[in-house]
C-alpha cells in the first residue's frame, strides 16, 4: 500500500511551506519600469547628453558595488537590481550638461558612502542616490548650476528672466521664483504659465524634471501595484501644497517644479530609508514636504528636496520607535 515505493529524496524545511511571488529583484524591476517613461522622455528630448549621464551613473554605481564586494570578499549583490536603481535615480537628479566625471563620482559616492559602508542593502540610513547627489551638489555647486540655463539647455522656452537678480546665474524657473519671492514678496512672473511645460516638457532642470506628468504616472503605477505606500507621497505632496499655499506661494507650481515629485514618489519611498509603520510613513512624508517647502522658500540655495529627504531619513529610527505598534494583547506600544 506504499504510495511511494522508490527511494525518494524529500525536501524538508520548517513552515511556512508557501510564499508570495514578490521577490526583491521583481520589486526593483517594477520600480525601474515605473521610471522608464520619464527616462525615455528625457533621452528623447535631451539626446546623447542624457544617455551619457545615465550610462555614467548606472555603470559607476553598479561597478563600484561589484568592486566593493570583490575587495571585501563578500557575495555578489549587483543582481538584486538596487545598485542599478540607485544609479538611475542619481542620473535623474542631475542636469543634462553635468560633466560625466562628476556623474561618475556621484555614482561611486552613492554606492560606497551611501550604502556599502553601512553593510550593504538594507543597512543604510540615508537614501544612497541622494547621498551621491548631495555630495556632488556641495562639491561642485557652481559647476552643477551652470549646467542649468533659463530657457533650457539648448533652445529657448520663453521664460522672462527676472530683473534685478544678477546674482543668479543660470537658475531654473524654480530658483528664479524662489529668489523673487524672497526678495520682493511676489513672483517676478506668472507661475500659472509654467504648469504645462512643467507637466510635459521642461528642459530647464535635471533629467527627472523633464515631465511631472510622467513622474506622477510612474508613482501611481507603484501605488497601484502596492510596491510603495501611498502615505508617503500623499503626506509629502499634501503638506507641500498646503504649506506653499499658506506661505502665499502657488501650490501647483511648487508641487510640479523641481525635484519634489521625483523625491515624493521615488526617493522618499525607498524601503530601506523610510519608516516601517503606516502612521510613521505618513508622518515621514509630511516631514519631507514641510522641510522641502520651507527650504525652498526660505533656504539659502537649491537642493531643497535632497536635504528634506536626507534629513527625514535620519529621523526614521526615531519615527519607528515612536510609532511602534501596540502588539495584540498588550496595553503599551512594543518596540
Amino acid at each position: 500500500m506504499r504510495a511511494d515505493p522508490g527511494s525518494r529524496t524529500w525536501r524538508l524545511a520548517s513552515s511556512p511551506h508557501v510564499a508570495d511571488t514578490v521577490s526583491c529583484s521583481r520589486i526593483m524591476l517594477i520600480v525601474l519600469a515605473a521610471l522608464l517613461p520619464v527616462t525615455v522622455w528625457a533621452v528623447v528630448n535631451m539626446g546623447m547628453l542624457a544617455v551619457g549621464l545615465l550610462i555614467a551613473c548606472v555603470v559607476s554605481a553598479v561597478g563600484s558595488e561589484a568592486l566593493w564586494n570583490w575587495i571585501a570578499r563578500k557575495p555578489h549583490t549587483i543582481m538584486d537590481g538596487s545598485a542599478l536603481l540607485t544609479g538611475l535615480l542619481l542620473a535623474l537628479t542631475l542636469p543634462p550638461r553635468t560633466p560625466l566625471w562628476i556623474a561618475v563620482v556621484g555614482g561611486i559616492v552613492s554606492i560606497c558612502l551611501g550604502k556599502m559602508i553601512f553593510g550593504g542593502l538594507g543597512w543604510n540610513l540615508f537614501n544612497p542616490a541622494l547621498v551621491g547627489k548631495a555630495f556632488v551638489a556641495i562639491s561642485w555647486t557652481g559647476v552643477l548650476s551652470e549646467q542649468v540655463v533659463p530657457g533650457g539647455w539648448y533652445r529657448g522656452i520663453d521664460v522672462s528672466a527676472p530683473t534685478g537678480h544678477d546674482a543668479i546665474t543660470g537658475a531654473t524657473r524654480l530658483a528664479i521664483a524662489a529668489a523673487d519671492k524672497a526678495a520682493a514678496g511676489a513672483y517676478g512672473f506668472d507661475t500659472t504659465q509654467h504648469y504645462v511645460p512643467l507637466l510635459f516638457r521642461n528642459l530647464e532642470g535635471s533629467l527627472g524634471e523633464i515631465s511631472a506628468a510622467l513622474l506622477i504616472l510612474g508613482g501611481f503605477v507603484l501605488i497601484a501595484t502596492r510596491i510603495i505606500d501611498w502615505r508617503i507621497p500623499a503626506g509629502y505632496i499634501g503638506t507641500a501644497a498646503v504649506l506653499s499655499w499658506t506661505f502665499g506661494a502657488d501650490p501647483v507650481f511648487h508641487v510640479l517644479a523641481g525635484g519634489l515629485l521625483l523625491g515624493a514618489f521615488f526617493m522618499a519611498t525607498d524601503y530601506v530609508t523610510s519608516p516601517m509603520t503606516k502612521i510613521g510613513r505618513f508622518l515621514f512624508g509630511c516631514g519631507c514636504g514641510l522641510i522641502n517647502i520651507v527650504a525652498r522658500l526660505y533656504g539659502p540655495g537649491p537642493e531643497a528636496t535632497t536635504w528634506a529627504i536626507l534629513f527625514m531619513n535620519g529621523l526614521v529610527p526615531l519615527i519607528d520607535r515612536l510609532t511602534a505598534p501596540r502588539v495584540f494583547g498588550w496595553r503599551k506600544r512594543n518596540g
Binding site: 525536501r11 524601503y271 516601517m276 509603520t277 512594543n334
Partner: protein, 386 residues
C-alpha cells in the same frame, strides 16, 4: 498497558495519560498488538507507540465504551478527546482552564485553520447535528450564556447544513475568510471584540474555543461514550483524488496517500497539517496522530525558494503589515540573527503565534519564523515572561 501479542478491541484503552497535559489513547481497531516501542512522531517528539495488526474483519459500529461519568470533563478525559484543530490540547484540561473565572462564551471554531485544508468544512457539512450538539454540551458544561459556531464566508454549504440543524440557543456566525481567522486569539477578537492579554488563556476574557471536529467528538464521547479513535484528515495537493478521509488514529501516512490515489507529480514534500504551520514529513511510515488535520503533497514547483538568514532585510514593511499580532517580525529577525536577547525583548517575540504570514510575504526570503522560534526558545529558557 498492553504488550506484544495482546488482543485489543476497538475503543480499548491502550495508553494512559501521564502528565497534566496528556491524553488517553484507545485502539482504533480490533486486532493484536504487534509491538510496543519508541519512535519519533511527526512533531519530532520521542514517544512510545503501540503497533497493532488489525484483524481482517472489522465491525466499525461497535467499540468498547468509556465508563459512564457524571461530569463532561471526566468523560472527555477518559475518552482521550483532544483539540482536533491541530494543537491536540486535551479538551478536559481546557474545560478546567478557567480556574473559576466564569465562561460567558463558547466558540466552536469552523474557520479552518489553514489554506488547503477542508476537514473542518467537511465535518460541518457531514455532521452538522453532532457539531451543534457538541457546542450545546460545551455551553451547558461551562454555563456559558452565548454559544457560537463560527465559520468563514467561503463555506456556504457548511453554513446551510448548520442552519438546518441549529437550535435557538446556538448562534451561527459567518466571518470573513482570511488567514489566520481560525487562530484562537484572532477568532475570539472577531467574535467578542476583546484581545486575549499576552500570556493569558482565552478563559481570562471569559471565552472557551473548541474546533468543530472536537465538538463532534465530544458529542460522540458524551452521547455514545465513544473514545477518540478516528478523525477527519484532508489529503490534498498532487494526489490522484484529493479528499477528506475519516482516518483511524495510527493509520500510516503512506496508506492515506495511496487511498487518495497516490502521487500525480514529482512530489518533493509532504506536509502534515497545512502549508502555513505544518511539518514536513521525512518518513511516510509515521502514523496519523490526533492533531494531524491534513496531508499536503507538494512538488518543487509549489515550494518557495529556500530561506537564508544572510539575506538582507530591505525594510519593505510587508511583514509588519501582514502580522495578525501587530508584531514587527523584521526587528525580531534582525535581533535574533545577532543573538541580541536583551534588545529583542521590546519587540515581544513571545507574542508570536507562528502563523507564517511574515515569512510568506518576505521578498528576500528571510527565515523569519525560524528566527522568531529561536528567540522564543532562548527567552523561555531565560524565564522571560514578556
Amino acid at each position: 498497558m498492553v504488550k506484544s501479542g495482546d488482543a485489543v478491541l476497538r475503543g480499548q484503552l491502550i495508553g494512559e495519560a501521564q502528565g497534566p497535559i496528556s491524553a488517553n489513547v484507545h485502539s482504533p481497531v480490533n486486532g493484536e498488538v504487534a509491538g510496543v516501542y519508541s519512535i519519533r512522531l511527526l512533531s519530532g517528539a520521542l514517544a512510545e507507540v503501540v503497533e497493532i495488526a488489525p484483524h481482517a474483519e472489522q465491525d466499525w459500529d461497535s467499540f468498547v465504551r468509556i465508563d459512564a461519568a457524571e461530569d463532561v470533563s471526566e468523560t472527555l478525559r477518559m475518552g482521550g478527546i483532544v483539540g482536533l484543530g491541530g494543537a491536540a490540547f486535551p479538551s478536559s484540561v481546557k474545560l478546567h482552564s478557567s480556574h473559576g473565572k466564569p465562561i460567558h462564551t463558547v466558540i466552536v471554531n469552523g474557520c479552518e485553520c489553514e489554506p488547503y485544508l477542508t476537514c473542518d468544512d467537511r465535518v460541518m457539512r457531514e455532521w452538522p447535528e453532532r457539531v451543534v450538539a457538541g457546542a450545546r454540551i460545551l455551553g451547558a458544561a461551562t454555563g456559558a450564556k452565548r454559544v457560537v459556531i463560527a465559520l468563514e464566508n467561503d463555506k456556504p454549504e457548511a453554513c446551510e447544513a448548520l442552519l438546518r440543524h441549529s437550535r435557538p440557543d446556538v448562534e451561527i456566525v459567518v466571518l470573513q475568510a482570511r488567514y489566520p481567522q481560525g487562530a484562537e486569539k484572532q477568532l475570539i477578537y472577531s467574535i467578542i471584540g476583546e484581545e486575549v492579554p499576552h500570556g493569558r488563556l482565552p478563559a481570562s476574557v471569559g471565552v472557551l474555543v473548541h474546533n468543530v471536529g472536537t465538538a463532534a467528538a465530544i458529542t460522540d464521547a458524551v452521547q455514545l461514550r465513544k473514545p477518540l479513535v478516528e478523525r477527519v484528515v484532508t489529503v490534498t495537493g498532487h494526489v490522484g483524488e484529493p479528499a477528506n478521509f475519516l482516518a483511524l488514529i495510527g493509520t500510516p501516512i503512506s496508506h492515506l496517500l495511496a487511498e487518495a490515489g497516490g502521487f500525480t507529480a514529482e512530489v518533493s514534500r509532504i506536509i502534515a497539517g497545512g502549508p502555513m504551520t505544518g511539518t514536513a514529513v521525512a518518513n511516510l511510515d509515521l502514523p496519523v496522530v490526533k492533531g494531524t488535520s491534513g496531508l499536503v503533497a507538494l512538488t518543487n514547483a509549489d515550494l518557495p525558494p529556500a530561506v537564508h538568514a544572510d539575506q538582507p532585510c530591505i525594510r519593505c514593511s510587508r511583514c509588519v503589515t501582514a502580522c495578525p499580532m501587530r508584531l514587527q517580525p523584521y526587528a525580531i529577525g534582525i535581533h535574533a540573527n545577532r543573538s541580541d536577547w536583551e534588545g529583542i525583548q521590546r519587540f515581544v517575540p513571545l507574542s508570536c503565534i507562528e502563523c507564517g504570514c511574515c515569512e510568506t510575504v518576505c521578498p528576500t526570503r528571510r527565515p523569519l519564523i525560524q528566527l522568531i522560534r529561536r528567540a522564543k526558545q532562548v527567552l523561555m529558557s531565560k524565564g522571560v515572561e514578556a
